[in-house]
Symmetry: C2
Subunit: 646 residues, 2 copies
């Protein structure tokens, strides 16, 4: 990837950025504040900078007159970096300059670390649970007139070390004709047992050698989005991918509303049909893309949270939302995929990723597997942050998990101008500590519509560290700015004035919003603390953090530590695992060894119901501060705050 060096003056901050990035994003990453209201659309005209050396593309709008252009002024939000550049940010006074050292830290998200599927081969683990074996059976004769099924089974015993085989009735029905189509040369498709020594199931028999064409579909059944991947079981490669919104969204945004719907008469069947509909659309698409026949799909591996899994399997999730929150099952036997309504051949096996409990699902188990935390010494914290945040703590010796009801703040819910991470959401933010003017960057570089979860964290962290917010999340009432004001008795900060928005209203962040965010992060932090408590450990013993879920890829690590969402640690020790659910489904499709490990890990993991664990409430109350009642838990932040106070 082509990169360029950008030097910001007078800050003297240098940063390397990829070709094609905007100047304003480069500034944000470098921790250089530039006043910017409109999110990057170029309409407020505030983000004027001077190009001192080098050149940028564009950055010219009617907000700049000829004189400005002559002097090298450009709008940072529209200027595209195509080479090394030296940029001067105009500062209006010496006072301005004096606060340069109080700039925000560079934005830092977690690096994605996913298991390398190539490694599976090297480790000899690339043995799919559903395998095709080519067999040249001896032809029957008068001296050897074994029944067809026995001929197949005994040959597999003798030559392939398969000692426990089940041949289902549908396969027995096909055997006689298929065996005789190509002189008793056949390809058998086997589903291996999860546990060694158990029975393998023969699910298909074809004439001749078809081992070259053996495929699996891996599906992540997300509450919002469903992802599918078509995998070549011969090479391990992913041949095609597709995603679509889960059709169940019309029946409820989150798992709880879906469960409620499923309890209505006919509701479960409806939700089942709808999700199968979405899955079939995806299956159709990836089968076509990969030029694979429907009948060449041998397995469909499925991963999702416990609710999504039960709805797909038409298992009523009613008791999952009532104390003591019991799911119907967490481990399912292999299921005939077509019997679920999936549009694949009659023989294909559906392998369902195991779950832990009602609110710790297959996606989380997959993350634990993919991160390898169950094999390492290091005490690792695994988190999937969302409305329902799931956490797993442990190492190779023990694993404990819990679900925290964080509320929807991280997804923009319960926040006055909160929104999902979509076009127009403020996702990055900085503030001038003297003027209290903001620097807003939106997703898509358009005028703002609202604030997304990761943007909210950055805002609160930034304002707290600058003393604009106190540790209780209240605005400093003495600051001299029209942006901090009281509306209907509630204090707020105006992030974007009406005229620079898409929604024709001031976009504000209120003390109520901040309280909701504090509750959300407090729920998660205290969840971790409670789990550790239960095993006699403390949160500062955590050596590694794995983030999962969409939110994990965007969240600013340092800012998350500042608000007390994450425990303070070296950001290098924090990684993001991507779509762990899809990854899990893919791992299961490729390696029966991993599939066995998964079942073991599932059995080994202890689930805690936080709401029913005595110490949880105490930990929660203590976490309802920025960053925490006990600032000593955040020594670096404490040092920075003390430094600022001097």
């Amino acid at each position: 990837m082509k990169t360029h060096k950008i030097l910001f003056l007078p800050h003297n901050q240098e940063i390397t950025v990829p070709d094609g990035q905007t100047l304003i994003r480069a500034a944000m990453e470098a921790g250089v504040h530039i006043n910017a209201s409109c999110g990057g659309e170029g309409v407020c005209g505030k983000c004027r900078v001077i190009i001192e050396e080098g050149n940028v593309d564009e950055g010219i709008t009617e907000k700049l007159n000829d004189d400005d252009l002559e002097k090298g002024y450009r709008l940072a939000c529209k200027a595209i970096i195509r080479g090394d550049v030296t940029v001067r940010v105009p500062v209006e006074s010496e006072v301005d300059a004096s606060v340069l050292n109080m700039q925000r830290t560079a934005r830092r998200t977690a690096q994605i670390v996913q298991p390398n599927f190539e490694d599976l081969k090297e480790q000899g683990l690339f043995i799919p649970p559903v395998e095709k074996i080519y067999l040249e059976l001896p032809e029957p004769s008068v001296q050897d007139n074994l029944p067809d099924t026995s001929r197949l089974v005994s040959f597999l015993k003798l030559n392939h070390d398969e000692h426990r085989l089940v041949v289902s009735l549908p396969v027995i029905r096909q055997l006689p004709d298929i065996m005789r189509k190509d002189n008793f040369r056949v390809t058998a498709t086997l589903v291996r047992p999860v546990q060694k020594g158990r029975k393998s199931h023969i699910i298909r028999i074809e004439p001749g050698d078809t081992t070259e064409r053996n495929y699996a579909i891996a599906i992540d059944i997300g509450t919002t989005t469903i992802y599918g991947q078509l995998i070549d079981l011969k090479t391990g490669e992913s041949l095609a991918e597709a995603a679509d919104f889960n059709g169940q969204i019309s029946y409820g945004e989150d798992v709880i509303t879906r469960i409620v719907y499923a309890e209505k008469s006919g509701g479960l069947e409806k939700l089942h049909d709808v999700v199968v509909g979405t899955m079939n659309k995806i299956i159709k698409k990836i089968i076509r893309k990969a030029r694979v026949e429907r009948d060449e799909i041998s397995s469909v591996t499925l991963a999702g949270n416990t609710t999504m899994t039960q709805l797909l399997l038409k298992v009523n999730p009613r008791y999952m939302r009532r104390s003591p929150y019991v799911p119907a099952a967490t481990i399912y036997p292999p299921i005939n995929a077509a019997s679920l309504g999936l549009d694949v051949g009659e023989h294909a096996a559906a392998l369902v990723y195991p779950q832990i409990s009602s609110y710790v699902g297959g996606d989380i188990v997959a993350g634990v597997m993919g991160s390898g935390m169950y094999r390492n010494e290091e005490l690792t914290l695994f988190m999937d942050i969302g409305t329902n945040a799931e956490i797993v703590i442990g190492n190779k010796d023990w694993l404990a998990c819990a679900a925290c009801s964080a509320g929807p703040a991280f997804e923009g819910g319960g926040i006055q101008f909160g929104m999902r991470a979509a076009k127009g959401a403020i996702e990055d933010f900085s503030i001038n500590p003297l003027t209290l003017e903001p620097m807003n960057i939106t997703i898509g570089n358009v005028r703002a519509k609202g604030i997304c979860g990761s943007g909210l964290i950055i805002m609160v962290a930034t304002m707290f560290e600058m003393g604009i917010l106190d540790s209780q999340g209240k605005f400093n009432r003495d600051l001299d700015t029209s942006r901090i004001r009281q509306t209907d008795g509630i204090w707020e900060y105006v992030v974007v004035w009406q005229e620079d928005t898409q929604i024709d209203r001031d976009i504000v962040i209120t003390e109520v919003d901040i309280e909701n965010l504090i509750r959300a992060k407090g729920a998660i932090y205290s969840g971790c603390q409670t789990l550790l408590d239960e095993v006699g450990m403390d949160i500062d013993m955590v050596e590694r953090i794995i983030l999962a879920g969409g939110f994990g890829s965007y969240v600013d690590l340092e800012k998350s530590m500042t608000i007390g969402l994450l425990p303070e640690m070296d950001p290098d020790k924090i990684t993001f695992i991507g779509n762990s659910s899809l990854m899990g489904a893919r791992m299961s499709a490729l390696s029966n060894h991993i599939r066995s490990d998964v079942t073991e890990v599932t059995r080994k993991m202890t689930n805690f119901e936080l709401s029913e664990t005595r110490s949880y409430m105490d930990h929660y109350v203590a976490a309802l501060f920025l960053p925490h009642t006990d600032i000593a838990k955040f020594p670096k932040l404490k040092a920075r705050l003390e430094n600022r106070a001097q």
Copy 2:
């Protein structure tokens, strides 16, 4: 049972018979010849006897005048025995009296010996493969919120020593609601594995304790008739029984014509539907009779020959009628009964009795099991005589089996006046060695319509022993009787004159009929000889014979030895096992131990294709005599014949 002593004079033969029998049957059993043409209907008036002491009921027709009655004459065929009686058979000359010592031996059929199901309990083997277990599960709490399925499985592990369990998706779907219906008190229905240490399957879950009501249906799928039995799995008792003709009869009388029909387009599906139709009629009937609910049936055990089994399971039997005669399978996994179309609850398991080969089916295996021959030292010969005769030879150390194509002679097929063993069939026969007049008894004591298989054997054996037939089955052309004559160049004996029949034609037995019978018995005898040859033994080493199949209950043992159908041996060592197929289905329903043994026995039994075994043809040709080329194999008969010749 009330019995009476009958003394026949001048023979001085005494016999004990049950109350209500006719005099003519008593005479036949005692080996006393009385001329009788009309089969017992009382119309020929030939069977006149004098009651010398005691009394009989009836026996009076217009064939007797007042004078006759005065003298004590009665018709033996109509006289009913109600007390001890002395009867004189009028002999017309001294010559007649001199042949009294040449009378036929008393009729002797095999005694029925079936396994005693009560013994199963004593031996601790009464553990049905499908069992109900009542469980009082701990209620979930916050401290113990295992998934419902895990709660069930771990309780069974801990308290019932069930360490390998599979819970199918349909059961998982029901679990949550059913568990909560009666405070986590449930009854689980388990299907145990055939082999110890394999997995048990939970197929049903009910609220509360329903262990008192657990039933099985055992079905014998006969080619002609289907029998069903409803069994109480709590007590082992049979509560109801019903039978019906197999609806497939309209599509072919025997297995070969059924296989041919199944090969036609849609034929297999049709035959499947039709047999399921018959089975459902029977199921409906016995469920109603026994006052059992459809849902209380936990298992349906099925036994039948290989063709019947494949047709029921919708497995095309095409290759079974072509060399090398390969069935699709002989051992089937448990199958969902409803999926076969059987009218029982969704959960009921269908357990199919294993077969050995295309022509040695589950009925034969069942007989081997029920007779215990696989556990005994004695060299035992098991035979099911019919169009396709199946034979098993062996003991606890080895078992060999074969099917012989005997042809339909034993069922009256290929015999000019042959018929099935139905009303009007001559089933017993004797002949006056001087006058060559017959004594015929028909089924139902009505005028004759024809001759059934067992009657045919008696006729041929009797006439051979009296020298009316020679060892090649040809009539002695020198005898002075109008009953032996030539019609269209074929020699025959008139068994019943036209006027005494129901069919208004002379009923005859021809040399062609006798040739067919000799071929049939030769096929079976040489089959036994061939099997024994293959293991280096001879037929005179056989210590015990078990007969099965409908024919086995009627066949006269001594007469069968005389024609060379059975090897010569003490009739006490020959037993009849009854409907072995139904018995097998019942055994499977009651005892999983037996079910396991069956699978072992099936694996152990060596099947021979006689038509492809070199020595078979030689043995067959040698057996095409009465009783055999080598008369030394039948020493008792040889002695009798020599005695007669003197």
